[in-house]
Symmetry: C2
Subunit: 208 residues, 2 copies
């Protein structure tokens, strides 16, 4: 829900002076308000139109001119970063939450199901992870690595417990789930992610 993540609140701009002293200046009230509006608009627009939605749409939805938008985010990618990082963080949180479950296998699977429903609700994550041309890697790198690490933890535990096969990598698990979600976004196929994810989970289970 919340898009702010502490340091992201951005009510201030920091400037390094020549002596190395850091002076902080409050943002003007309207600027703060507009920044919020832009983030909210972007979150909504990207969620249901995907990352390819034109910037103008975001600006209009925020009730702001494009110029203003660019004052806050120098690039469309910078805006992606803000939004996608949030989403990825939500997924990291889900993964961490799932990791406390008793059954390590179910912990992984329930996370993957969560991932699926999150992703099908918010087009942007999948776009960020699955569409070539949007390079998450460069901008949201660290959060993406966090996510990968969190999934690896789930996977390792599940593998160690014997619930899940041990010949699959974290990246492959991500690929399978993201792939399924991406396919589900294609209206012509007429499928939803859930059953496909169930198949993936079964495929991950260790054969008895």
């Amino acid at each position: 829900m919340s898009t702010a993540s502490g340091a992201d609140t951005a009510t201030a701009t920091s400037t390094a002076s020549s002596e190395g002293v850091t002076s902080v200046r409050r943002m003007r009230a309207d600027a703060v308000k507009n920044r919020r509006r832009i983030l909210d608009a972007a979150e909504a627009v990207f969620a249901d139109e995907g990352l390819s939605a034109p910037i103008d749409v975001v600006a209009e939805r925020a009730g702001v001119g494009v110029g203003t938008l660019y004052r806050h985010f120098p690039t469309k990618e910078a805006l992606f970063e803000a939004i996608v990082t949030t989403r990825l963080q939500e997924l990291v949180d889900s993964a961490d939450a799932a990791s406390t479950a008793d059954d390590p296998g179910e912990a992984l699977f329930s996370f993957l199901r969560t991932f699926g429903s999150q992703a099908s609700a918010k087009h942007d994550v999948i776009d960020a992870l699955a569409v070539a041309g949007v390079d998450v890697k460069s901008r949201c790198a660290s959060t993406f690595e966090d996510l990968q690490a969190a999934i690896r933890r789930l996977l390792d535990r599940a593998t160690a417990s014997g619930a899940v096969r041990d010949d699959v990598t974290t990246a492959e698990v991500i690929g399978l789930v993201v792939g399924a979600c991406h396919a589900a976004e294609q209206p012509s196929l007429g499928v939803t992610p859930d059953r496909m994810i169930e198949v993936v989970c079964d495929g991950l289970r260790r054969r008895v």
Copy 2:
């Protein structure tokens, strides 16, 4: 390999006269040659750059001006149609070939593996099937339906034999495999389709 599919040879243009008689006129020799060159170039370019490759690139590779390209294919989509239909047909053929195998389960799985390797070699199929915005549906509709039907046949047989679970649709199988291939095209993930497809196959197997 071969891109020609009988009626596609297109060395002639048919015209309906006022009396309803159909007169056929030979294409000029250079036109025939150029059409071939364009198709070959498009096949190569789309295969390794995907369907988003600019038309100019195709034209240049074919050693032809854009005007000439447009004389042969009135639209970029028309060119897609020519290429993608061929690829889809290849897949239909693979599916039909697989369907003669003794073990119905393995018939399906070996086709899915073939699909995976075809797809990872030729970016365009996956683009056509997985990237929103390219509507295969409208142009290659019938061939796509043929493919879907062929896969359904494999799936039904596999299900009937008890080798494969019976709660999965053809579209879901396609979604899973296409999704995995699509994910594999993302260089940042660093995965190949094969193991992911193996997981999908295991997921499709009926639990014993």
